[in-house]
């Protein structure tokens, strides 16, 4: 066959790969925090009083869930400048990832809110708590506990999807792989190594989220 694997280039490439992995982690950290905050608002709005707001959130969720992330990214990065909104690639990536993630987690958070028995809010209201206090202090913590495994999975899925932001030249892990293979001509080995790093990242993110969730939300979080 005449082709032998060569990983000698890895020594010089370690710095670039580490930088790319750090950027991937930064992107997903921003996305997770922003996405979950937006989705709590979204889920609350969907169960709120204002029918127009309910409809708007529903449309947003359906549009995002039924179109590819890559198309959303291109629409934001290439499309928005034509109406005068020009974004830095990193900002565009975080915006696209956050909007995508929030649509999925709005459904997840909503399912968690529905899972908390009605008696919980009735009891809290009877004790004299205001509706907002009931939501933040009583309902939300219980809902988060129920949906924590689903949220964790969504964070991992989004981290893996973030590989496509390499296409708008954000220098994260996949983009570093593109640059490396162009320089070393070792395409297969480069993508093999980077794929394994993604595998390590997804396992590490899952494990640390599960451990962190157990500490913050208490026992019973798997």
């Amino acid at each position: 066959m005449g082709y032998s694997l060569d990983f000698g280039w890895l020594r010089d490439a370690a710095g670039a790969i580490a930088h790319g992995a750090a950027m991937t982690l930064l992107l997903i950290a921003c996305t997770t925090v922003l996405g979950i905050l937006i989705s709590i608002l979204g889920a609350a709005a969907r169960r709120g009083r204002y029918s127009l707001l309910r409809k708007a959130v529903a449309i947003y969720v359906e549009v995002i869930r039924n179109t590819p992330f890559l198309v959303q990214l291109f629409f934001i990065f290439f499309g928005l400048p034509t109406i005068g909104i020009r974004l830095d690639p990193i900002v565009a990536a975080i915006l696209a990832m956050t909007l995508n993630m929030a649509a999925y987690t709005t459904e997840i958070v909503g399912a968690g809110l529905d899972a908390v028995p009605r008696g919980q809010s009735e009891a809290a209201l009877a004790l004299g708590l205001r509706p907002r206090q009931v939501f933040v202090k009583i309902i939300l913590p219980q809902a988060l506990k129920v949906i924590f495994p689903a949220l964790t999975s969504q964070v991992v899925i989004m981290m893996l999807e973030s590989a496509v932001v390499s296409q708008i030249a954000v220098r994260e892990l996949a983009h570093e792989a593109d640059l490396l293979q162009a320089r070393t001509f070792r395409s297969f080995e480069t993508y093999l190594v980077v794929t394994m790093i993604y595998l390590g990242l997804s396992m590490a993110i899952r494990r640390s989220l599960v451990a962190g969730g157990r500490r913050v939300l208490g026992a019973g979080v798997s």
């Binding site: 066959m1 082709y3 359906e62 549009v63 869930r65 039924n66 179109t67 590819p68 992330f69 890559l70 198309v71 959303q72 291109f74 629409f75 290439f78 499309g79 928005l80 400048p81 034509t82 109406i83 991992v156 893996l160 999807e161 973030s162 590989a163 496509v164 390499s166 296409q167 996949a174 792989a177 293979q181 395409s187 297969f188 993508y191 093999l192 980077v194 794929t195 394994m196 993604y198 595998l199 997804s202 396992m203």
Partner: protein
């Protein structure tokens, strides 16, 4: 510069959609066949086969599809196969789909009460007959909603094959955009076309879910 009217753009995009559809169908069919084999490994009596199945699923669910496509596109030529983007796209998405379908169906198999296996055994069925006649039909039935949900994910995933050069909807859109400089219209229309393909399936999955008897 070529002049494209709105209708020219739309017509070209709709023509390209057949490749998106064809790739989705091939990947779902191929993924079902390979996924069935992985399911057999995953629920086998042999520990090393089970471990292989679990490892296969963890690998494909724990790495980006884009990297899997790149490995397929750059890896196969290394083994001496000349590979077209279409082949790399179809193979890559087939393996990706097989891991997800195997995991969905495994959930169905494990949701069945133990008594279903015992009943099959007491009727004198051997392992493969039990699977074929008793276990799998029920497992497929109760996992229809997530399987349809995954089909939506797969259709959306075909957009990634534009990056390895497969001429589907998004790649055609990129070419049109380069000629017309109308990214707002072009990518907006691509989003609309994907939505039209995916939304009915999403609704169908929801309907199946609602109809499902609670266990």
């Amino acid at each position: 510069m070529i002049e494209f009217t709105f209708w020219d753009i739309l017509r070209n995009l709709i023509f390209a959609t057949r490749w998106t559809l064809l790739l989705s169908i091939v990947a779902f069919g191929g993924g079902a066949v390979v996924g069935l084999l992985i399911l057999f490994a995953r629920i086998s009596k042999h520990p090393w086969l089970r471990r292989f199945g679990a490892g296969y699923i963890a690998l494909f669910q724990g790495t980006p599809l884009l990297m899997q496509l790149f490995l397929m596109f750059f890896g196969l030529p290394m083994l001496g196969f000349r590979i077209e983007p279409w082949t790399a796209a179809a193979l890559g998405l087939t393996f990706y789909a097989s891991a997800y379908l195997a995991e969905i169906w495994r959930g169905g198999v494990e949701a069945l009460p133990r008594g279903q296996w015992d009943a099959g055994a007491s009727l004198g069925l051997h392992y493969l007959q039990e699977l074929r006649l008793v276990i799998l039909p029920q497992a497929f039935a109760i996992t229809r909603p997530p399987a349809v949900g995954f089909l939506v994910q797969l259709i959306k995933s075909t957009a990634l094959t534009s990056i390895i050069g497969f001429e589907e909807l998004l790649r055609t859109a990129n070419a049109i955009n380069n000629a017309t400089f109308e990214p707002f219209t072009v990518y907006g229309l691509v989003a609309v076309i994907f939505f039209v393909l995916c939304y009915p399936l999403t609704q169908y999955a929801r309907m199946l879910e609602r109809r499902m008897p609670a266990h």
